[in-house]
Symmetry: C2
Subunit: 232 residues, 2 copies
């Protein structure tokens, strides 16, 4: 949760006068550590962090390969070597974000009791927690989907659909057994996912609630939404 730690010094390096090829990066991997894969080099991780930070500030279209490379303290050639293009770097971030989210939520469900209310509550809590940890990645994932080329977009949407099906299954199970009274399980899932994902937009680590408190409250809101016993 040290997402913003050191943001000041890092951000200080974004001006045009910044030397392009420092030997030490002024970006250390932070939230994007969650996105790393076993085969990653330190360079890959730093580039991902630098891209997330820069694209979050300037938007994908407003960010150049040079901007990302500068922030990572590398040459653009290194970025091209690892990711091929700015587009493919964004694609990699999006794939890793949705993969991480789904893995976390699947793990929570695997360990949850069969009761639909408890399963939904745990699922929502985990979804919210991930969205407090990977705020910027999640915002990019929603806001820059239109920047992704058709083929990759279809793959990402298929992954997102798979993630959402977990929620639909739990809510449909609860509706089928009478634990959830909502007449609109499909819209209820849309509502839950939208509000739980939206946490990434407004959550602040220095805000009045911790990530765990927000996750807890949204777990209860989700139960209310499906018209379960909210104290379940």
């Amino acid at each position: 949760m040290d997402d913003d730690a050191g943001a000041g010094p890092r951000r200080a390096s974004r001006g045009r006068g910044t030397p392009a090829h420092r030997t030490t990066a002024d970006v250390t991997p932070t939230s994007s550590d969650a996105l790393s894969r076993p085969t990653d080099t330190p360079g890959t991780r730093i580039l991902i962090s630098a891209a997330v930070e820069t694209m979050s500030e300037k938007g994908y279209n407003g960010t150049s390969v040079r901007d990302i490379a500068d922030r990572a303290g590398m040459s653009p050639a290194v970025l091209y070597h690892y990711f091929g293009s700015k587009h493919d770097l964004l694609v990699a971030i999006m794939h890793r974000t949705i993969d991480h989210l789904t893995e976390r939520c699947e793990a929570v469900l695997a360990g949850a009791p069969p009761d639909p209310a408890r399963r939904l509550r745990r699922l929502v809590r985990e979804h919210v927690l991930v969205h407090t940890e990977l705020r910027r990645e999640a915002v990019l994932g929603v806001g820059e989907m239109h920047s992704i080329e058709q083929r990759e977009r279809a793959l990402l949407i298929a992954k997102r659909d798979r993630h959402e099906r977990m929620f639909h299954r739990v809510v449909n199970d609860g509706a089928a057994c009478g634990a959830f009274g909502t007449p609109y399980p499909s819209e209820a899932v849309r509502g839950i996912l939208t509000m739980a994902t939206g946490v990434s937009v407004w959550f602040r680590e220095d805000g009045p609630l911790t990530a765990a408190e927000v996750a807890e409250r949204f777990g209860r809101l989700a139960l209310a939404l499906v018209e379960a016993d909210p104290g379940a």
Copy 2:
């Protein structure tokens, strides 16, 4: 609700080979009619529609003044004459969108009975309806806020806050009189606003539900969320 009508022919004009200064626009004001003001000329309205369409497809940063002018069938000079810059055109769209949304919701509340459940339901329904009518404008309003310069962004956020206060007041009233059981009225409002605004992202006019049906369902979901009697 003829938002997408004629999108095909209009979109056909977006290529690079498009003549820049046609004498007739291939954009007719559609959803953005709701955003027009009495002092607008037909040119202003067409430019706003063209900007909404182009920015929705390519993002703000990926859209040039030339793209908007081409789509509007005007010269860039006309855009500069009316709006000063691409930035100020986006600012105008955002102000008009939030103004329209707030006016519609205030009007609905003004005519609503004092019962908090009915007030909340009507408020949410209207908020959802506006977000089915001004889908692209709403998505731009959320997704491109980071493209707006500081001073204007503060004004827009103040307007958004004023809009949101309507919801907070109604939910707080309901919580105070015991009509709403939620222990988390503040997060409930965040949840309601996020899911009701999110309709603009997924609603399709050719989808399985009409705008009115979606609005009705989200009205009920909102009542469930605050733990009111959902049939109220």
